[in-house]
């Protein structure tokens, strides 16, 4: 009985393979040769990690633009945040006949080759939020470079520690990151470290992973607060780490004595900004970032945006400057008690 099943299985498997081979002829000339100026361009928007507020707010802006421009927008990405998973999704979308793929690279190394290969198959590839090597994409929709982000974080924390004057900043600081292996965070850490040289009285004493888990972030922050008596500031540089670290400082009763900053959406941090635990939150307008990215994708698909352009008209955002192949969103925003309520994302 088992043996018969075995043979039937093998035969049927062969049949499936043969069948899929036969269907080859029907579908050879599909995706790549489609004219790019089809009425409804197909745009795929890839976040580093799906399901986190930062990217969900980007998606909000992207959908707004898509509705206005008549773009067939798909927003999807790895819920695990794995770059390898993201690479697989790009490959799949290429096969599905995407017109434009917009990538936010959690790790440029594994993504760049895939993006290049997508481009070679006639897909427009752009990056947004975080870039990959220039030859793997056409444009980069940039809110800020890793260096700018690192600098902004560092300057903000120094200012908060110094009570408004960065030069007064004195004491020890620590970083709570996602995983020790998180490519993005490590990039920022690199620039934070570099920028800290500007503040010789600030000393980086520890970097701890939170395993992208708020509970863990809270625990390590708590421990560092006690272990380093002179700790004055914490960089909490992942979406799970920031609320965790803020909560730890609050519960330890060190509000005002220890400053914490990081990247997060205003809505997530409003509570801590209002109760004084967090003085400043560093970010940019994520809704606008999603909006701008979708506009760029649409223009590329329709052929209205070409290499070498110096400005780009982005709907409600108005004229945006293009610096080479980098389209700039605008400035980093530091949210504080005074301005945070003006934003809802």
């Amino acid at each position: 009985m088992v043996r018969i099943g075995h043979w039937i299985g093998s035969v049927a498997l062969a049949a499936v393979i043969a069948l899929s081979g036969c269907s080859k002829s029907e579908s050879t000339h599909e995706s790549a040769s489609q004219p790019a100026s089809a009425i409804k361009p197909t745009v795929y928007l890839l976040p580093k990690k799906k399901g986190v507020p930062y990217f969900e707010t980007c998606a909000k802006g992207a959908r707004e633009a898509a509705d206005k421009l008549g773009v067939d927008l798909t927003y999807d990405g790895p819920t695990s945040g794995s770059a390898d998973e993201a690479a697989k999704m790009i490959e799949q979308w290429t096969l599905q006949g995407a017109d434009v793929i917009a990538v936010s690279a959690s790790d440029p190394a594994p993504l760049a080759p895939v993006m290049k290969s997508a481009r070679s198959k006639g897909v427009h590839v752009i990056t947004w939020d975080s870039d990959t090597p220039a030859d793997s994409r056409e444009f980069f929709v940039c809110q800020a470079s890793a260096e700018q982000i690192g600098n902004a974080l560092c300057d903000t924390l120094a200012k908060d520690i110094g009570g408004g004057n960065a030069d007064n900043a004195d004491g020890e600081v620590a970083i709570v990151t996602a995983q020790m292996t998180a490519a993005n965070q490590n990039e920022w850490i690199k620039y934070i470290k570099a920028r800290l040289e500007k503040y010789p009285k600030l000393k980086l004493v520890d970097i701890q992973p939170s395993n992208d888990d708020q509970t863990k972030a809270q625990q390590v922050t708590q421990d560092m607060l006690k272990a380093h008596a002179n700790l004055k500031g914490v960089f909490a540089i992942s979406s799970q780490a920031f609320p965790g670290a803020a909560e730890a400082i609050k519960q330890a009763g060190k509000v005002g004595q220890v400053q914490v900053t990081g990247l997060s959406t205003p809505n997530d941090m409003k509570k801590y900004v209002h109760d004084g635990t967090v003085k400043s939150v560093v970010l940019w307008n994520t809704v606008d970032l999603g909006y701008l990215t979708t506009c760029v994708a649409d223009a590329l698909a329709k052929g209205t945006l070409k290499k070498g352009a110096t400005t780009f008209n982005a709907g409600r955002l108005g004229e945006k400057k293009i610096d080479g192949d980098v389209i700039l969103l605008g400035d980093i925003i530091v949210f504080n008690k005074d301005n945070i309520d003006q934003f809802d994302f």
């Binding site: 399901g51 969900e56 520890d206 959406t265």
Partner: protein, 347 residues
């Protein structure tokens, strides 16, 4: 007569189980000694380590894994395993957030908490039914649940709630958070709850018929059946109990923000703690004190490393140290029990 008649036992089972017994009795001492050494070592380097505040925080770090370990311990004692607890923790936290948050369903705290506990028990019931009635190996059932519940959590958290928002929930009412960060008689509520769970579990396994049956089922399921015990019911109970405790762990959380990324890897943490605490993966063996010590040993580690102030690159070795610690624990254990067997058999 005794000395010689012990050698008649058939090769595999009795000597092995005998060994396990002795081991279970010894394991607690072993962990306690390792713990003492670690604590003494770090305290000499940093006197603040044993400050009241730090001890309290370390204990609070242990609350969630310890509460869930109480359930997982019983599951493992019956010879099964539950690796779905990490995802279940995420899902239950998300549900609690949905129900209790004022900008969402805004249920009263007690109702939201009861619903979360009930849902936890139901998840456990599903595991238990699949394991006992459908007879799927528990590692497969809970592996499937681990994956599924994680997906469900992301879907739930990205689904627009009644106020049209999606994403993190930042406005958990204090009436719910009281169970995590509140204080009763100057001691954190979460510690009270954990203590209740631990004492309850300890009493359950030592002094109640049900507790004895859990061990009986793990020790020899065939015999348990012949003794008229319902193996099915006992196993379903342990899974439900675990699910319920995941619900309890949800409530003692220290966190203010509910996100979908909670509890990643929590299941492995719990299984590691339980196993390091001397609970035998083949069933029938395990003590409450061992599990408590196992949880503390594993959880204390990251605090110890931070207190040693090893600098900014040290954290890269955290995981390697954890792995090595487990390997060493297992190795010492095995070697010790071998020595024991040689000496013990001969008297």
């Amino acid at each position: 007569m005794d000395a010689t008649s012990t050698i008649s036992m058939e090769l595999a089972t009795p000597t092995f189980s005998q060994r396990l017994w002795q081991l279970a009795a010894r394991r607690e001492y072993g962990i306690a000694i390792v713990l003492a050494i670690i604590i003494a070592g770090v305290t000499t380097k940093n006197h603040d380590f044993l400050s009241g505040e730090n001890v309290r925080d370390i204990l609070i770090h242990c609350t969630q894994p310890l509460i869930v370990s109480c359930g997982v311990m019983l599951v493992i004692v019956t010879g099964e395993i539950d690796i779905s607890v990490g995802s279940a923790l995420a899902l239950l936290t998300a549900v609690l957030g949905w129900l209790a948050s004022p900008t969402h369903y805004h249920w009263p705290a007690w109702a939201a908490i009861l619903a979360t506990l009930a849902l936890g028990a139901i998840l456990g019931l599903i595991n238990g039914l699949l394991v006992t009635l459908v007879r799927i190996p528990s590692i497969i059932v809970t592996l499937g649940m681990l994956t599924m519940l994680r997906g469900l959590t992301v879907i739930l958290m990205s689904h627009p709630r009644p106020d049209g928002r999606a994403g993190d929930i930042t406005d958990m009412p204090y009436s719910v958070r009281f169970f995590g960060i509140g204080k009763i008689l100057g001691i954190s509520t979460s510690l009270w709850i954990t203590a209740i769970v631990v004492v309850f579990t300890a009493l359950l396994i030592t002094f109640t018929p049900l507790g004895r049956r859990i061990y009986a089922v793990g020790s020899n399921p065939h015999a348990a059946r012949l003794s008229g015990l319902s193996v099915t019911r006992v196993k379903i109970f342990t899974f439900m109990f675990t699910g319920f405790l995941v619900g309890v762990a949800t409530i003692v959380t220290q966190l203010a923000t509910v996100t979908s990324g909670l509890g990643q890897g929590f299941e492995l943490l719990v299984v590691t703690c339980v196993v390091v605490g001397g609970v035998s993966i083949s069933g029938g063996v395990g003590t409450m004190i061992g599990v408590v010590l196992g949880v503390i040993l594993i959880q204390i580690q990251s605090t110890v490393l931070i207190f040693l102030k090893l600098g900014t690159n040290a954290a890269n070795w955290n995981q390697a140290i954890q792995g090595a610690l487990i390997l060493i624990a297992v190795l010492i254990d095995q070697v010790a029990s071998r020595g024991e067997k040689r000496i013990g058999g001969g008297h």
